[in-house]
């Protein structure tokens, strides 16, 4: 190769760097480094005039290596690579020295910051000498998509993709789609009926010719890479043939076995063969094997006997499907905090202490009481209406003992429930809160409305619920009065925290999604890439990423669909050339690297007796390179030569 001619640019980043680092000094220092032809400093290297500097130097001064000392490569590496390409130079003949995040922002003293900037620049100059041109490649994108999770976010995503004419698989773990929204009565702040606005979407999703609904199914594994995923789906045995069932309901009328209903939060019973709720989609029952008399004892079989279509099939087994898709949307939703692990709030101890989700079922016309708010005694509903009800906010949320984050939607949900209880029973309703967080369109107005309805707002967290002589008391401080209060009530509603869904860990593992400290799925950038994940082609929408209300979940569902459609419509996708490579001659076939690869990109080839890297899957993380005992693995753009040059230089100053 011809002589190395390096250009160095030191960015001021306005005052971000220049206030701390003596940029002119760094520039002069760089000018004297071996191989450096040009050294400049400039206000904003990422702006057009800054880019133009690069271009003209490459063209006019014969520059063939470029170092930009500015911000993090996460910000602008791609920008500068493109500049190089536009001037006819391979984009990988470039190195960035991060003198902002790693230097000016985190160093107190100007002199030390300048010293560190010099070291980082010198290291980059030394390293870039060993860079080699690399070629980016493209792969075709499969035109089908997969949506995992049939709540409102997933349904919205699936519909949007299908309406654009692309084939979608919608996989739902439970027997019906509809998610958490299906269990709600009214929605804030407009108080429109949840089922009325949800069921049309559920039906459309089930009937849309471009959507195949796989309910009672779970994703077991994912292979492949962006544009070309192979997804294994387990269709759990329903013991009812979907194609034969008409949803007449005879089976569950005849079934003799009662089981507490999950959908109603244990406040009513379902049968061992059941649909979770009347508007279920698909309207096909499932048999809950662990509670079915036939499965447990071999007797009964009433459902089979009475089914007019012979749709019951006890012999049915789980089936496995392999789907080929170009992109995946994960919309696996959330769960709510189960307060039995927090006995101070009395749930599970006192039967008239309910969670907000349970109360949603009580106020719902299709719920266990036909929409009446009634007290329970000895496990049964009475016809007695509570005269006073306490709604406790932040149960498990904003609490380091449980979930430290704010669950975001419960303030409004609690206000809504307070309103509904008041409306339905005329009871005195107390709202125990820390702060009312009503940030959202029409939310503060709703709060005002509920205040005017005469709800008693007590600013103080409900600390404890205790019964005395058959009367429940909420213990709290009325912090605005500075007074301790024990408020007697007939019923307590706990607004429990929004938590990651059970099984979120497994879903994250299957799809290569990272999780935050709170257990929710982690987006690739908190502001600018809220729907992308660390794995290209896998998107997250709705509450699996964090607590959200319905409007936000719907918006994210639609946003996820846009991500998928832009990928599918582009038709091909770029693959980074920064990947590991194996020298097959040197590889001993020990397979140490195979299980270490977080992306399952390495396979052992029996015939060659050596391992091979799937370049489309490899992310260039380098784990395998470090593990290889025979030194057969290396990572492009991160070769030993390049890294050692950089380390030697940075540590010699």
């Amino acid at each position: 190769m011809s002589e190395v001619r390096i250009a160095v640019y030191v960015c001021h980043c306005g005052t971000n760097i220049a206030d701390k680092v003596d940029v002119a000094g760094v520039r002069e220092f760089a000018r004297r480094l071996p191989g450096v032809e040009v050294a400049r400093d400039y206000q904003y290297m990422c702006a057009d005039p800054g880019q133009e500097l690069l271009r003209s130097d490459i063209r006019e001064r014969g520059i063939n290596r470029v170092v930009v000392a500015s911000c993090s490569p996460r910000m602008h590496e791609a920008t500068f690579r493109q500049v190089l390409e536009s001037a006819g130079l391979n984009g990988y003949l470039f190195e960035m020295a991060n003198i902002r995040e790693h230097c000016s922002w985190v160093t107190e003293e100007s002199e030390l910051a300048t010293h560190k900037a010099r070291a980082l620049v010198a290291a980059a100059v030394k390293r870039v000498r060993f860079h080699a041109p690399l070629e980016e490649r493209y792969v075709e994108v499969n035109q089908k998509a997969l949506v995992v999770g049939g709540g409102i976010a997933g349904i919205e995503a699936a519909l949007k993709i299908a309406r654009a004419g692309k084939k979608v698989w919608l996989v739902e773990r439970g027997p019906s789609i509809g998610g958490k929204m299906a269990g709600l009565d009214k929605t804030f702040p407009t108080l429109d009926c949840s089922a009325c606005i949800l069921t049309p979407k559920m039906v459309e999703a089930a009937q849309h010719p471009k959507i195949t609904l796989l309910s009672y199914s779970e994703v077991e594994g994912v292979d492949g890479y962006v544009g070309n995923f192979q997804v294994t789906v387990r269709r759990k045995a329903r013991y009812v043939r979907e194609e034969d069932c008409t949803g007449c309901g005879t089976c569950y009328q005849k079934c003799p076995k009662k089981v507490p209903s999950e959908f109603d939060g244990g406040l009513s019973h379902r049968k061992a063969i059941y649909v979770p709720f009347p508007q279920a989609v698909p309207n096909v029952p499932v048999i809950d094997r662990s509670n079915c008399i036939r499965f447990q004892t071999g007797r009964c079989g009433a459902c089979e006997k009475f089914c007019p279509r012979d749709a019951v099939d006890f012999e049915q087994e789980d089936e496995f499907l392999t789907l080929e898709v170009g992109a995946v949307i994960v919309a696996t939703g959330y769960e709510t905090f189960q307060p039995q692990e927090a006995p101070q709030w009395g749930w599970g101890r006192y039967e008239n202490v309910l969670t907000a989700r349970q109360l949603e079922r009580l106020v719902n016309a299709s719920g266990p009481t036909g929409g009446k708010v009634l007290l329970r005694r000895d496990g049964e509903f009475t016809d007695e209406v509570p005269k006073s009800v306490a709604v406790l906010h932040c149960i498990g949320s904003r609490d380091e003992n449980y979930y430290p984050y704010c669950s975001r939607l419960c303030c409004m949900a609690s206000l809504k429930l307070a309103h509904l209880i008041r409306e339905k029973t005329g009871a005195q309703v107390y709202s125990f809160y820390i702060d009312i967080r009503s940030a959202g369109k029409g939310y503060e107005e709703f709060y005002t409305r509920v205040q005017a309805e005469g709800i008693q707002f007590i600013r103080g967290k409900g600390a404890e619920v205790l019964e005395r002589d058959g009367q429940l008391y909420v213990h709290a401080e009325d912090t605005l009065l500075g007074a301790y209060r024990e408020v007697p009530v007939d019923m307590v509603v706990l607004s429990t925290a929004v938590t990651p869904a059970p099984g979120a860990e497994r879903v994250a593992q299957i799809f290569g999604i990272q999780r935050g400290q709170d257990g929710f799925f982690l987006e690739s950038h908190p502001k600018l890439e809220p729907l992308k994940t660390a794995t290209e082609g896998i998107y997250i929408v709705g509450c699996c990423q964090g607590p959200k209300d319905i409007p936000d979940s719907v918006a994210q569902g639609a946003g996820g669909a846009a991500e998928v459609l832009s990928l599918l419509t582009a038709g091909r996708v770029q693959i980074s050339p920064v990947v590991a490579e194996i020298d097959a001659e040197a590889c001993s076939g020990c397979k140490v690297c195979v299980p270490l690869c977080p992306y399952s990109a390495i396979k052992y080839d029996e015939e060659r007796g050596a391992c091979g890297v799937n370049e489309a899957l490899c992310k260039g993380c380098g784990t395998c390179v470090a593990s290889c005992p025979s030194g057969a693995l290396s990572c492009r753009h991160f070769t030993d030569e390049q890294i050692y040059a950089q380390i030697e230089e940075v540590s010699s100053l």
Binding site: A342, P343, Q344, R349, L466, E467, D469
Partner: protein, 289 residues
Amino acid sequence: MRRYWYYPGCSGHASARDYQRSVALISPALGLDLVEVEDWNCCGTTAMTSVEPRLSVVLSARNLALAEEAGGRADLVVTCNSCYAILRRAQEQYARRREVRAEVDEALAGIGRRYSGTVRVRHLLEVLVRDVGLDALRERVRRPLSGLRLAPYYGCLLGRPRNDFEDPEEPLSMDRLLEATGATVVRFDRKSKCCGGALITTHEEAALELVREVLSEAAAREARAVVTACPMCQFNLDAYQAKVNAAFGTRLRLPVLYFSQVLGLSLGFGASELGLGQRFVPVGGVGKL
């Protein structure tokens, strides 16, 4: 025989001698060899901690150092919830706060002692439930206490602040232990409420309310007796019951026993050797099972 160092605490030698006696009786029968730490001192309890937060840490540290010096298995068994919490607090602060550790090391050095942090402080209840085990306890029961309704009262300091033994809100170890004796354990929502023991000499009026609160529920649940694991709780609930009745017009008459005494009865020991006579509210029929 499993050997443990034993820290009876001040009350063990005074107001809770009956507790001590029952522990001394049942331990060998259950294969436990409890050896009293030589020349131990007061742990400091709430009072000294309120005078100076680090005072009870250094006082406790001397006890921990004594147990460590004595060698062997470094489990220090206590029977008083207050000693338990204070000794654990000392351990925790010693481990977590560098400045406290330095102060303790220095103070101990001043009296020619040192502590290296190896002692495990354990409540006898924990030793019984975990080391001996409920199955072994059940096997040794010779006189099942069938039909005896008991309210297990844990008080504050067995599960609070957090430790690796009991739940701060809903402790269960004593429930399980009492069930193993064949007794009926009643539901007891106030089982870990405060009885006001730390305030009884200084704010009696307030403390009596707390005593009433605990005993009233036990009575409402039709318990024949309240069972405790702490001399402070026992004394407070027992000796002040008459005052509660006088102050609030209640008619409480609930004997307050130690779990070791109840266990002793089920193992076949007699009421008087277990010290059941030494209380303000007589045990009545409970001791004659």
